[in-house]
Amino acid sequence: MMEELMKLKETELCLGLPGGVETVETPTKSGVGNKRGFSETVDFKLNLQSNKQGHVDLNVTVAHKEKTKDPAKPPAKAQVVGWPPVRNYRKSVMAHQKSSEVEEASSCGGGRGGTVAFVKVSMDGAPYLRKVDLKMYKSYKDLSDALAKMFSSFTMGSYGAQGMIDFMNESKVMDLLNSSEYVPSYEDKDGDWMLVGDVPWPMFVESCKRLRIMKGSEAIGLAPRAMEKCKNRS
């Protein structure tokens, strides 16, 4: 490994072994306690100008880097509370973005054995999408209960403004999933739209890419295709 490092012309590295000699000046302390502990830290001198892309080749750093040890400071956790000083708001937005990326990956791959299986749920007439994690539910009943709750809440009859799209009221939503007025359909791995409930639940979770709650009249066209597909499967 060291030989490889020495061969790297573009990036100049000074590698110090843990606990041994290194090139960093340890600032002298006067009795406040050994806060820095640099002798235990491996540090590098990097020539930042060298790399063509303008950023440092940090692969090596990752392998050899150790945390700054500080025996005299209170909590010895890996991450200190509130540090670095980034607002919670920003952290949660970034975290949400990251999890969305995970969602996209897993729903595209049909839930490739990941721990989450987010799929988008749209309902005809509702002007926004919701997302559900199919892995949170154990059966079609669970899922339909959750969907009913999700879409039944957008019923602001008393605040209705002009020009607003009509929302489903609660009884209708309950009906829709029990009766044939509104029907949940889903897009499977092949891109086909199927009626929800045609395959065993675990298989559904694996193959469902997104959900659409559509009017019964539009779902009629799906039924024959779904049946065809079932036949072809078995």
Binding site: V32, L48, G54, P84, Y89, S100, G160, G163
Partner: protein
């Protein structure tokens, strides 16, 4: 971003001991008006005050003079000037109190609401700040305080013509919003920054009741999702809306209603949508509202477009929006679509990409056209290379913020001294910088101090604690020292990296205009704190964490705490006894002590985890929770 500029501009008043001496005969209350002025100040936004308050007494010579004064004072908006005016004599004090329409309170616990209403009778605009900044970083337990409720109750009685409320880090409930909406028929502007405690139901009620509403800006606030379609609750018919900002509202939005609202808001100039507005929806909004000057673009990502449908021409929507000068949002950016903003780039003065994880290659073609940019926020994903591109083009840059895409201490940061150096060389007019990185060199910081003499705000966060200059191995003393020596206009400084007491000696000596100082994981001993407190004559806000500063250091500032807005010290070496001594010696200062473990009773009772100390005209607050001890 608007909120941060106003924060930067809003200045607290300095208490001038000379004017305190002049003022003595005036006030009937127990504190001098000078002290009052120190905590309450007029805003510095100019107002066109059309009508004066009715004159209730028959004119006589003294009153004629007062009337004249009243008419003159209406033009005085700078709060520092107003404070000076109020100290001249009793008559001037009275007239000033009558004509102060905008009041700024930097710490809601520095005085009681009743004191405010006793002195000022004609307040129309209130700017109130609650929790100190370190509360944003989980250093303060929840339910600490800063409730808006007592303020809305007091002002509801005293100021029926209140028009504007601007809150930062306050706890605001739905009931507060309801009371606000009901009490002030002419209410025009509500700005909530970094607030919490309310939800979409409160917003819905507020939007419905305030028929004169011009501004509703919810910025970086926590808004609970009550599953209420609040956007539909705006009254029907044409609105007076000029600014609507709801980027932080984490609940789906009724787009049809939003579209309808925009259509009937001909005065709307600023619209900042949440991530629940897709790119297609944004397009529709832009087409209907081409008069917008400031646009928060929502997700900037298309919904799944079914095959066969035409995609809207996003670039043409931007081309049609000739007035846009400020862009933000990009909350779930699909990078291929970013070039759509190109038509407005040349006009942009402000661009916030700080929620978009984009590479240099995505940034460069865009920033190349942004010659007029003055404010630029981004993630460090743009790398040093992206910063170099900014430096090459954005010669008018005044404010730069580079946030970490991976805000962990040991993450790999793609920005470094190289980027900072490039910016310093390219953007000579820079006034404000916030820069997160893992490591830094003194050289780059010194370069910035020399190249950017206009700097008023320098905040460098080297995320790796105690990191020295990674090239020389020396502490970062020289770099920060150069900043305070060369940047003579510096008012705000945040330091990081390995710093010795020497650094603070230089800061204390040269930081003559510094008002806000943030210190973390730095210094060797109490001397560092002493240097700061015995220097930095204009220091108002001092926030410290994890430094080896103890009671001795704290004591060295006793002569000035009554002149400061607050001091925050957490995870230092303070003892309860030491803090108590200071609290007892300074009656005008309130010292709060608390810890993060709210149930921790007497374990290590002498150790002070957090000290939050601030001046107050009305003593200790009555609403302190159990885990807070007021010494």
């Amino acid at each position: 971003m608007k909120e941060d500029r106003s924060e930067m501009a809003a200045k607290d008043v300095e208490l001038d001991p000379r004017s305190a001496a002049i003022s003595e005969p005036l006030s009937s209350s127990s504190s001098s008006p000078a002290a009052f002025n120190a905590v309450v100040s007029a805003g510095n936004k100019s107002r066109s005050c059309k009508s004066s308050l009715p004159v209730t007494q028959p004119p006589c010579p003294g009153h004629v003079l007062e009337n004249v004064l009243e008419n003159v004072l209406q033009f005085l908006t700078c709060r520092r000037d107003r404070n000076a005016v109020s100290l001249v004599c009793r008559s001037w004090y009275r007239v000033e109190a009558q004509t102060r329409f905008e009041v700024f309170i930097g710490n809601c616990y520095s005085l009681s609401p009743s004191r405010l209403t006793r002195r000022f009778k004609g307040v129309r605009s209130l700017l109130l700040k609650g929790k100190p900044r370190f509360a944003d970083f989980n250093l303060m337990p929840p339910d600490w305080g800063a409730q808006f409720a007592p303020w809305v109750a007091a002002t509801a009685m005293a100021y029926p013509w209140l028009e504007k409320v601007n809150l930062k880090r306050m706890f605001v409930t739905d009931d507060d919003l309801a009371l606000l909406a009901e009490s002030f028929p002419g209410f025009k502007e509500l700005i909530l920054r970094c607030c919490e405690g309310f939800g979409t139901s409160g917003i819905a009620l507020f939007a419905n009741k305030c028929r004169q509403l011009k501004v509703l800006d919810l910025i970086e606030s926590e808004v609970t999702d009550d599953e209420v379609d609040w956007i539909s609750c705006f009254p029907e018919g044409e609105t007076h809306l000029e600014s609507l900002s709801f980027e932080c509202v984490e609940s789906p939005i009724n787009f049809k209603a939003l579209e309808g609202l925009v259509l009937r808001s001909p005065f709307l100039k600023k619209l900042r949508t949440s991530r629940f507005v897709s790119l297609e929806e944004l397009h529709r909004l832009m087409v209907q509202a081409s008069q917008l000057t400031s646009l928060g673009t929502g997700s900037f990502s298309p919904n799944d477009v079914p095959q066969g449908e035409q995609e809207p021409d996003y670039a043409s929507a931007f081309r049609a929006s000739k007035s846009i000068v400020c862009l933000s949002g990009f909350r779930e950016l699909t990078p291929e679509y970013l070039p759509a903003i190109s038509p407005v780039c040349a006009n942009l003065t402000s661009l916030n990409l700080s929620y978009a994880n984009i590479s240099p290659d995505i940034l460069k073609p865009i920033i190349r056209n942004c010659h007029n940019i003055r404010v630029f926020w981004a993630l460090d994903s743009i790398c040093d290379e992206g910063l170099q591109a900014v430096a090459a083009t954005c010669k008018e840059l005044r404010e730069l913020r580079v946030f970490p895409s991976d805000p962990l201490e040991d993450s790999e940061s793609p920005v470094s001294a190289l980027g900072l150096q490039a910016i310093s060389e390219g953007c000579r007019k820079l006034e404000s910088i916030l820069y997160f990185c893992q490591r830094m060199t003194n050289g780059a910081v010194i370069a910035m101090s020399e190249n950017c003499p206009q700097l008023t705000v320098f905040r460098l966060c080297i995320m790796g604690r105690y990191r020295p200059d990674h090239v020389t191995g020396k502490p970062m003393d020289d770099g920060f020292g150069a900043i305070v020596k060369n940047c003579k206009k510096l008012t705000r400084l945040a330091v990081s990296g390995l710093l010795t007491d020497e650094a603070f000696s230089i800061i204390g000596e040269h930081g003559k205009l510094i008002r806000t100082l943030s210190v973390a994981f730095a210094g060797d001993s109490d001397m560092a704190l002493r240097y700061i407190l015995e220097g930095c004559p204009k220091l108002q806000k001092l926030e410290i964490r994890d430094c080896p500063f103890g009671d001795v250091g704290l004591r060295s500032g006793m002569h000035r705490y009554h002149n400061m807005r607050f001091v925050w010290m957490s995870y230092c070496r303070l003892t309860r006894g030491g803090c108590r001594d200071i609290a007892h010696a300074l009656p005008s200062v309130v010292a709060e002590v608390f810890g993060s473990d709210v149930d921790d009773d007497d374990d290590n009772a002498d150790y002070v985890e957090t000290l939050y100390m601030y001046r107050s005209l009305d003593g200790a607050r009555k609403d302190a929770p159990k885990f807070v001890t007021i010494l």
